[in-house]
Symmetry: C2
């Protein structure tokens, strides 16, 4: 079977080597004669997986010792609530930057448990840029933002400088860029982009932040409890964490964060280069805020659509359709996407030009 | 490699055929040339999996049309909170039966959001029986109980008769016994016993119950929102649901609920028979409340322990150690456990008798 070029927005492409190893572990894990799917999460073999996964995250992002790394469930959607419970401060207002669907959802959940101020928003232009013109109130409890906006194709190229604690949902660009973890009190990310399959969510949290969490916080939403139990307050999503661990191993072996940051820039430069050169296409976002992970663009003349879509299908390109709230096309280019797949898309863009 | 007899309390044994199919899908799912781990949850292929999984649960348990079936994340531990949010009624007190660790946790979370009355408890004898002597207040909002107690080895052989709505955490015995779903307003269960691998949680909820959920409920904990989005409010745990679907298919093909109920009784009769016959062993629970899923017992004379443990190891019996809060041994015998594995344990029990 010919290779499929997987541009899915998430869950998304993972390295073949990782998939092969995951497949083998589904029948015989760690030479136990048992599948990874049927072993106790308290078994030595799985405790070793959990520990290694946490350590690999630390290594990949150079996380200081005064931070905990957790693997939980619920995706960023539960993270919206967990982050609010973690960071809320009596009498203070939480500050949120609104850069699209995910920010809006984060704001909605945060509002259920505290006062929230939407500091800036790019909703005025269907989220085609990252707001930059705002002043962070020094008496706010924390500033929350979404580092990369999967649906609209924007990305913070630099993170906000803030005197109040920074919190980021990095679901869709974690492990694709260098970052200084100590600039943040809390980072969370659903696994299903650069980390692994759907089903686990990573939390990177400053230990002293955990001490401030209110005792009335429900246990599953209380990162202090989750950290004290080393991500095993309840049965963790064993297989998702295992595959994330395999993928972290793979990424570190293949050059680590520097390599993937360069790769992300290379892929993005290639496709944005073609979008800007090719008269038939146009990008949807402000150039300086264009995402290196999710490239959103459209055909200026819709009459080319049928032919272009058929070129994509013939080239076995999967998942290039844009999100319904933006339309057009979206090339999601996560860590495991080879340069070759980007070349194939560009090839289709050139072909339609000569049609 | 010789077969391992997997008595793990959960995550636990799954059928070999299911593990094989899961393993194959991890490299090529549905002949797409893509892994189940890297496809969009909105793809046709996965939407079909989700629909089939829900339908198979309906078929397996003969669920009436006025109930929704959901596959979410978070395990029963998040279910404690979700069930409380689903069922709470202003001005009414929630009624809980306390039969062990999991009930206690459910009570703790429920208390965070409403008034809770612990109606009966067997904590006075380390949860070795199911309380039967209580009267359900007709002005209570609902009655919550844990149908099977994994740690202590007790099980409700008949469910409470109640005029107020019944809610049950059936994590460890769902799909092992017939039940009349319409006796309940809400049933929830972590997948990692009889359903599939860790990472997904099933909710069976009466549709009219959903309408009563308060609008201030956080989205991820709001079953009305989850039902309206057909378990895809956020990215579901794709692989866990896929394997659960495979296992449901397998269970239906192999005799369905009747078969597994008979099998559970057969296995339980075999091992309890030996516990009662063999002078060296004693069960920990009231005979009428003994679980068909988790058999808890101990050696009356600890000096036999070393020899018995070594017999178990030689026979490749895995996961027979008791939980730390009970001690002794625990044979967890979930749906996929073959009779042969039970025979091997009994064989060890007989051997130590003649030692």
């Amino acid at each position: 079977m010919n290779k499929v070029h997987n541009f899915s927005a998430g869950p998304c492409i993972l390295p073949q080597e990782v998939l092969q190893e995951a497949s083998m572990a589904a029948t015989n894990f760690d030479n136990l004669g048992l599948s990874i799917l049927e072993i106790s999460h308290r078994s030595k073999s799985f405790v070793a997986v959990m520990t290694e996964a946490q350590n690999l995250v630390r290594e990949m992002l150079t996380i200081p010792d005064d931070y905990d790394v957790l693997f939980l469930q619920g995706g960023a959607s539960l993270g919206f609530l967990i982050s609010a419970y973690t960071m809320k401060e009596e009498g203070k207002s939480a500050q949120y930057l609104d850069t699209g669907s995910w920010s809006k959802k984060a704001i909605k959940e945060a509002k259920l448990i505290q006062k929230v101020n939407v500091l800036a928003s790019s909703s005025d232009s269907n989220y085609s840029y990252i707001p930059k013109d705002y002043e962070i109130p020094v008496d706010g409890s924390y500033l929350h933002f979404t580092s990369n906006n999967t649906i609209f194709g924007t990305q913070y190229k630099t993170f906000p400088k803030s005197e109040i604690p920074l919190v980021a949902d990095m679901s869709s660009d974690i492990f694709s860029r260098k970052l200084n973890v100590s600039d943040f009190e809390l980072i969370y990310a659903g696994a299903q982009k650069n980390l692994g399959p759907a089903g686990s969510t990573i939390y990177i949290v400053k230990k002293e932040t955990l001490e401030k969490i209110s005792a009335g916080t429900p246990s599953m939403l209380n990162l202090q409890i989750q950290a004290a139990k080393e991500s095993m307050f309840n049965t963790p999503p064993v297989f998702s964490i295992y595959v994330a661990m395999l993928n972290l191993r793979y990424m570190l072996k293949n050059g680590g964060l520097s390599h993937y940051e360069t790769l992300a820039k290379t892929r993005a430069d290639m496709i944005y280069g073609e979008i800007d050169r090719n008269e038939l296409f146009e990008g949807t976002c402000a150039i300086e805020d264009r995402s290196n992970m999710n490239t959103t663009f459209f055909l200026k003349d819709e009459s080319y659509k049928e032919r272009f879509d058929s070129l994509l299908t013939d080239a076995k390109i999967s998942g290039l359709n844009g999100h319904r709230s933006v339309g057009g096309y979206r090339a999601s280019m996560y860590n495991a996407l080879p340069i070759e797949s980007v070349e194939i898309v560009i090839d289709c863009m050139k072909k339609i030009e000569n049609y």
